[in-house]
């Protein structure tokens, strides 16, 4: 029945209506045909009864006298005079079942037992007629003056009645088929028309890529019928979805700023600490301007400090640039992330384990920006979960078909609301931020998968991103 489900609803309903009509037509035809059959069987029974009665009246005295010739002569004349030569064969027996005469004496010789011919014979009152029978055989008692004086066996040709029945059956079926066909066609059109709004709705929903679009007001069915309510409900649903998506988008945006805020305070420390050293170095240069070795040493110190500040600034900038999606992921991105998360872990006196197993030869063909966002959010989540003096870890490995990122922390594990945000696509719970939902959306966008587990007291969030490995060496050799 799989093929049946592939049909559209309107087609299925139309076909079902058609099948229902055909079924009704078949049942109606059957009823009419059986009534016709009953009527004709009654007619044939009446014919048989009259035939036997007429023969009984004509033959009675001869059978009583066992007058072979008169019985034969009467049978012959009756057969010859019967309507349309209906009598095919007749035989009459005496009370002992011995044939007195038959229209075909060779088939039923005088004095032979009539029972020899009675196989398949029926009583006129209980006559049954098959559709393919051309003759019916009757065996009836021959009653004369109120007593049974013999038996009549007769075969009647009913081929005209059977063919009449066949013709009536054919015409009835043909008529019914035409009428049913016409009604089925009308039913199909009416159903299709009634279900047009549903088809349109389905079509709209199918056309929808990303955000569903409402059905224009002029296409909404008139009145307050089910279809109008259905389309209106759909439109309301579309608007609700759009509103929800908008809310989530705004929440994600806010989350980005929240992350940024958290980073900013860390970075303020990161910038503030070297600044003290740098200012000291400038004071030293000013104080010992005549001592070149001190000046050089201080200049080196200033240079290292400024470089560090430049790296921090660059990492922050790169992390927050969404538009740089076309830049491929490289080991440097993880170095940037380490630089960014470093102050946070140091602030919390946490132990950071960092292992990035990615070399320049098999860099995964993944965009850097979303991966950086994913890892940064997971690391921020981990540092928050791990608490003071906790443990946070990152393990990145490039497989043949995927990039695997594992972020672990020694925190108590994911709360239910965090799990919903990270692993499910349902509505975002009202409590908590949307950083983990942002992770989920980014991973889904990259066709990846997220799993979580507890491993040796650590909460491990594992992100698997499918990749096509970019052959960096080949790319470089191509440039030569």
């Amino acid at each position: 029945m799989g093929w049946w489900r592939n049909f559209s609803l309107s087609l299925r309903v139309s076909l079902m209506v058609a099948m229902l009509m055909i079924a009704v037509a078949v049942i109606a035809s059957q009823l009419v045909l059986s009534a016709l059959d009953r009527q004709q069987v009654a007619r044939i029974r009446e014919l048989a009864r009259l035939h036997v009665e007429a023969l009984s009246v004509a033959l009675g005295p001869f059978v009583l006298r066992k007058d072979v010739w008169e019985v034969y002569d009467t049978l012959e004349r009756a057969a010859g005079a019967s309507e349309g030569r209906r009598t095919v064969f007749s035989a009459v027996a005496d009370r002992n079942g011995r044939v007195l005469a038959a229209t075909d004496p060779r088939r039923a010789p005088v004095d032979s037992p009539i029972s020899r011919l009675a196989n398949g014979a029926q009583l006129p009152g209980k006559l049954q007629v098959g559709n393919r029978e051309h003759n019916v055989k009757l065996l009836a008692p021959l009653v004369y003056q109120g007593r049974k004086v013999g038996q009549i066996l007769t075969e009647l040709d009913i081929s005209d009645l059977v063919s009449e029945r066949r013709e009536a059956r054919r015409l009835l079926l043909l008529g019914n088929a035409i009428a049913t066909g016409f009604l089925v066609f009308l039913g199909y059109l009416a159903t299709r028309r009634m279900l047009t709004p549903v088809s349109r709705l389905v079509s709209r929903m199918r056309e929808t890529e990303g955000a569903p679009r409402p059905i224009p007001r002029d296409e909404v069915p008139e009145g307050d019928g089910e279809m109008a309510r259905l389309v209106n409900t759909y439109n309301e649903m579309v608007r609700a979805i759009a509103s929800k998506a908008d809310t989530e988008r705004r929440l994600a945006e806010r989350e980005r700023f929240v992350s940024l805020g958290r980073l900013s305070s860390s970075l303020a420390h990161e910038i503030n600490n070297p600044l003290g050293g740098l200012l000291n170095a400038t004071d030293t240069i000013r104080k010992y301007a005549d001592r070149p070795d001190v000046v050089r040493q201080s200049a080196d110190l200033i240079s290292r400090g400024l470089r560090h500040l430049r790296d921090v600034a660059k990492a922050t900038l790169d992390t927050n640039r969404y538009e740089r999606t076309d830049t491929p992921l490289s080991p440097e991105d993880f170095e940037d992330l380490k630089l960014l998360i470093g102050p946070e872990t140091r602030l919390n006196a946490q132990r950071l384990t960092w292992a990035v197993e990615m070399d320049r030869q098999d860099q995964p063909a993944l965009p850097a920006a979303p991966v950086r966002q994913i890892v940064l959010n997971l690391l921020l989540n981990a540092t928050a979960a791990a608490g003071k003096e906790g443990r946070v870890g990152l393990w990145v490995a490039t497989g043949p078909e995927s990039l695997v990122i594992e972020v672990s922390d020694s925190g108590p594990g994911l709360s239910d609301s965090a799990r919903v945000r990270l692993l499910e696509s349902g509505p975002v719970p009202s409590n908590g931020g949307v950083g983990l939902r942002l992770v989920r959306e980014l991973v889904t966008g990259l066709h990846g998968a997220i799993t979580t587990e507890r491993r040796q007291g650590m909460t491990v969030i594992r992100v698997t991103l499918p990749v096509a490995v970019r052959d960096a060496a080949a790319g470089e050799s191509g440039e030569c």
């Binding site: 007058d67 072979v68 010739w69 034969y72 002569d73 075909d104 060779r106 005088v110 004095d111």
Partner: protein
């Protein structure tokens, strides 16, 4: 079997009464054309109304003639001889130029019987118990063998008509039949499909043809005399010839004394056994 020509009933011999002729099924029974032609020929010759009376059996016609209900009747030689002292032959038909005919013993054309003796135990059809060719000939042949028909045949039936005997044999209702040879030959020309279903296995000697008789007491009556002359002159009138042609006869002739000796002999043989 009623009156062939519907006339006002009247006593025979009275001035207004029609001439009443009885007919046995000696020839082609129920042949309306033959009866009409015969009636027309008689009306023309007698110049008076004529009624042709048919009955199913020879016995009925003979009794009507004996009772005076008929002026004349076409009987068979056997009933004539049974009542020879009361009846007189008015005329005898000529068939093939002679007042003679034969009895045929017939079987179905697929039957392998060759003679009467081969038919033992079978069903046999006689025409009439008072018919010479349709009963007496075969019965007397069996009497010569010391047998009665019911002893020799498994079953015998009477069809009361020579044509019916042919029908019964041809249809296979009976195995064999005793039939008037003149009727069989006439049927062979008129209804060959009927006689083709039969085969003649025995022909009797020539015997006196069924005669037209009148009661001895009335034979001198003018109507009977006129009738006698009319039938004897059939071959000389157009209506008479037409009737004779249909009957496949040549004419009528007065009987001669020994004409029915053959039948008389057979009657004696049969009576001896009875």
């Amino acid at each position: 079997m009623g009156a062939a020509a519907v006339m006002a009933p009247a006593l025979p011999g009275s001035a207004a009464a029609p001439f009443r002729l009885g007919l046995t099924p000696v020839f082609l029974d129920n042949d309306a054309l033959v009866i009409e032609r015969l009636r027309r020929a008689l009306v023309g010759a007698l110049e008076m109304p004529v009624e042709l009376e048919q009955r199913r059996t020879y016995k009925e016609v003979t009794e009507m003639l004996l009772e005076g209900a008929l002026d004349a009747a076409w009987l068979c030689g056997y009933p004539y001889l049974q009542h020879e002292d009361e009846l007189s032959v008015v005329a005898v038909p000529l068939w093939n130029g002679k007042p003679l005919y034969r009895s045929y013993l017939i079987v179905g054309n697929n039957d392998d019987a060759l003679d009467l003796s081969d038919l033992r135990g079978g069903i046999h059809a006689f025409s009439d118990p008072d018919s010479n060719s349709g009963f007496l000939v075969t019965a007397s042949d069996l009497a010569k063998m010391g047998l009665r028909p019911d002893d020799f045949f498994g079953r015998t039936i009477f069809t009361y008509g020579h044509r019916n005997v042919v029908r019964a044999v041809a249809a296979g209702l009976v195995r064999s039949g005793s039939v008037d040879g003149y009727v069989w030959e006439a049927l062979a020309r008129m209804e060959p499909t009927l006689t083709n279903g039969t085969r003649v296995i025995r022909r009797s000697e020539w015997l006196g043809f069924p005669p037209v008789c009148a009661h001895r007491d009335r034979v001198a009556n003018p109507e009977v005399q006129k009738f006698s002359r009319a039938v004897l002159d059939f071959d000389r009138t157009s209506d008479g010839r037409a009737a004779l042609n249909l009957l496949q006869l040549d004419g009528m002739t007065p009987a001669y004394p020994s004409l029915y000796d053959g039948i008389r002999r057979r009657m004696r043989i049969y009576a001896a056994l009875r």
